[in-house]
């Protein structure tokens, strides 16, 4: 009996504590993530807090299920509807399964947007993509060109030949290569997102193209393997490895100089922008309609397409100056 009593007493204490923490802010914006305890989303929450501080009178409710399930997120959404929050900004575990719950939220006057991982159009007012295919395609060639003022040969190390995302990005890249005079894309090879195969393909590129100045790998597996291959071949300084990668995996190669810079979304900016959009929609300062744009504070404006989705910005560039700040985050 006493165990139970103690348990209940502590529950009461906990309840009072948590109850007391909720203050009477003017507006409550819930940032719902795929699961708690993931560095990427913790960073997004930091960005949301930054936006809240900038706006003033906004309370951020950072929440999500323990594991990445749609059912867990629905429980969270129901609790948020019950609390009558002003806005929900969600990174969805399932683009379809959340639609009924989010529709209910919208029916009860709650602003609903998705970010990072989207919800089907029926279940949200707008969706914020971290970036867009044209922006990514442009960024990966720009990363290589920025360190080649005199031009030179570059090669692409992709995932598999059938990888949809990579193929779209490479197509977009080829469309804008003309804007970077002197840069020649000499080959595209496929490492199938396997570390060993990517490593061998990178070795092959170095052997086939002695004048190679940069390897662009728009895949997190490929870029690490290519950086390792360049390091092992003793070609640091001759060949720059760049592309899309995670700071945690690339910090070492930035330090060694095998990679001068790379890009990926910035979760802090993403959380910040999602909060700004949610605020502007909830306060009727903007509307989520196709063709309209919504302000995102320091991130500029987002333009919505026919499905009311928009891209936040260029992928964020990481180099020696900032990679160590982010490597512990994701």
């Amino acid at each position: 009996m006493s165990v139970m009593k103690k348990l209940l007493t502590s529950a009461v204490v906990a309840a009072t504590m948590f109850g007391g923490a909720a203050s009477a802010e003017e507006m409550r914006i819930a940032l719902v993530v795929k699961a708690l305890g993931i560095g990427f989303f913790e960073a997004a929450a930091k960005g949301a807090e930054e936006a809240a501080a900038e706006l003033g009178g906004v309370e951020i409710i950072y929440t999500g299920p323990t594991d990445t399930t749609a059912e867990g997120q629905i429980e969270v959404i129901n609790a948020l509807i019950a609390q009558k929050v002003d806005a929900i900004a969600i990174s969805a575990n399932d683009q379809d399964a959340l639609v009924p719950a989010l529709k209910k939220a919208m029916d009860r006057g709650i602003t609903v947007i998705s970010w990072d991982s989207g919800v089907a159009p029926a279940g949200r007012q707008m969706h914020l993509n971290p970036s867009s295919n044209p922006l990514i395609g442009n960024m990966i060639i720009k990363l290589a060109a920025d360190h080649l003022p005199d031009g030179g040969d570059v090669a692409v190390l992709s995932a598999s030949a059938t990888a949809t995302n990579q193929n779209i990005w490479i197509d977009e890249m080829n469309m804008v290569t003309g804007n970077y005079p002197g840069i020649n894309v000499v080959a595209t090879v496929y490492g199938d997102d396997l570390a060993d195969k990517s490593y061998r393909e990178a070795q092959g590129l170095m052997a086939s193209y002695p004048d190679l100045k940069a390897i662009i790998a728009p895949t997190t597996v490929g870029i690490v393997a290519a950086a390792q291959a360049v390091t092992d071949a003793g070609k640091i300084g001759e060949i720059n490895v760049t592309g899309l990668a995670l700071p945690s995996e690339m910090a070492g190669h930035i330090d060694s100089g095998a990679s001068k810079s790379f890009a990926i979304w910035n979760p802090i900016d993403l959380g910040y922008a999602a909060t700004m959009i949610a605020y502007n929609l909830a306060t009727d300062k903007a509307v989520a309609e196709a063709g309209k744009s919504i302000p995102m504070g320091r991130m500029g404006d987002v333009m919505l397409d026919d499905e009311r989705a928009g891209a936040m910005s260029d992928p964020f560039v990481y180099d020696a100056s900032n990679v160590h700040d982010f490597k512990d985050i994701f």
Binding site: L8, G64, A82, P100, K104
Partner: protein
């Protein structure tokens, strides 16, 4: 535990034993008290708790799991366990989604969900009663098997586009804020209560859980009863799959991940002995309410899910430890 304890434990049978009957009664009273306390704490700590629509939304936290917990209670009382229930949901839901591609209607979808559930349960039953495998091992195996099949069919895709009339099972209201799922759960709870307490079949479940050999020698067809229990659990999992699929409006192979443990938690919290032989449906129903209210209450306060898990874990451990400590203390 010394020998005497062991012997005592063996004699914990069912409610015919008067001392145990008193104990069980006090157990459910205790549970009810916990439920009331949780209710009061929730009402005091959040202004949003006492709201008919909010409570109605919150009932989804336990209705589907509760449906399976009713059948799981019988399985555990009989001395077995079924850990494949969540995987059955996944497979039944996948089968419904697959059938949907051929344009079948709502009635057929429900039938398919239930039939796949029963088939999965039958498969478990055969493994346990015919092949003689321990149920914990057999159902851990089928847990991977059933969910694996869903992954084979679906991969990273999803089935959606269920008909509008199908949405009633998981999103419909019978009257005002009373959801279809809540009514279904209440109705099933009554049926399972009657089955367990008022029928020969129910008495046989207790007998088997206490002593399968003695039960066999008293003319109870042990294998058949167990077979029926696994089929029943499969059926209830299929029913839960219908409700959950309807509520989500889509099927993914990861649907209902981890539910088996939450369901076993409800059953054990409800006072069903994990060793088999004792427990009541009333206890399981109250436990389902408690789990649902605790989840919702914590959700309203935006307490991270992991804290909820810790709380439920502590509740479970104390619930299992309490009777043992109590017995030790009484013995001096």
């Amino acid at each position: 535990m010394n020998l005497q304890d062991g012997v005592k434990a063996r004699f914990i049978p069912d409610r015919l034993n008067s001392r145990l009957s008193g104990h069980l009664k006090s157990w459910e009273t205790l549970l009810l008290a916990v439920a009331v306390v949780v209710f009061v704490i929730n009402s005091l700590s959040s202004p949003y708790f006492l709201d008919a629509w909010n409570l109605s939304d919150a009932s989804f936290n336990f209705t589907e799991k509760g449906l399976i917990a009713l059948a799981m209670a019988l399985v555990i009382i009989s001395g077995e366990i079924d850990l494949s229930v969540a995987a059955i949901i996944a497979l039944a839901s996948t089968a419904m989604g697959y059938a949907l591609q051929f344009g079948v209607g709502t009635a057929e979808l429900v039938a398919i969900g239930l039939i796949v559930g029963v088939l999965c349960g039958t498969f478990n039953g055969v493994l346990v009663t015919v092949m003689g495998l321990p149920s914990i091992v057999a159902t851990i195996g089928t847990m991977s098997l059933f969910r694996g099949l869903s992954f084979v069919v679906l991969g990273d895709k999803a089935f959606n586009g269920y008909p509008t009339s199908f949405a009633f099972f998981g999103q419909g209201y019978v009257y005002w804020v009373i959801t279809f799922e809540l009514v279904l759960f209440a109705g099933m709870a009554v049926l399972f209560g009657i089955l367990l307490n008022k029928t020969n079949f129910g008495r046989a479940i207790y007998a088997i859980g206490n002593n399968p050999t003695a039960a066999l020698f008293s003319g109870i067809r042990v294998a058949r009863v167990k077979m029926i229990l696994f089929m029943l659990t499969g059926l209830m999992s299929g029913l839960a799959a219908v409700c959950l699929t309807s509520r989500l409006g889509s099927t993914r192979p990861s649907i209902a991940t981890g539910w088996e443990l939450e369901i076993v938690t409800m059953v054990v919290l409800g006072g069903v002995s994990i060793l088999g032989g004792s427990g009541t449906i009333v206890g399981v129903v109250i436990a389902a309410l408690i789990v649902g209210m605790v989840t919702f209450g914590f959700g309203l306060l935006n307490v991270p899910g992991i804290v909820m898990s810790i709380f439920i874990g502590l509740l479970l451990i104390s619930v299992i430890a309490l009777p043992i400590v109590y017995r030790r203390v009484r013995k001096g």
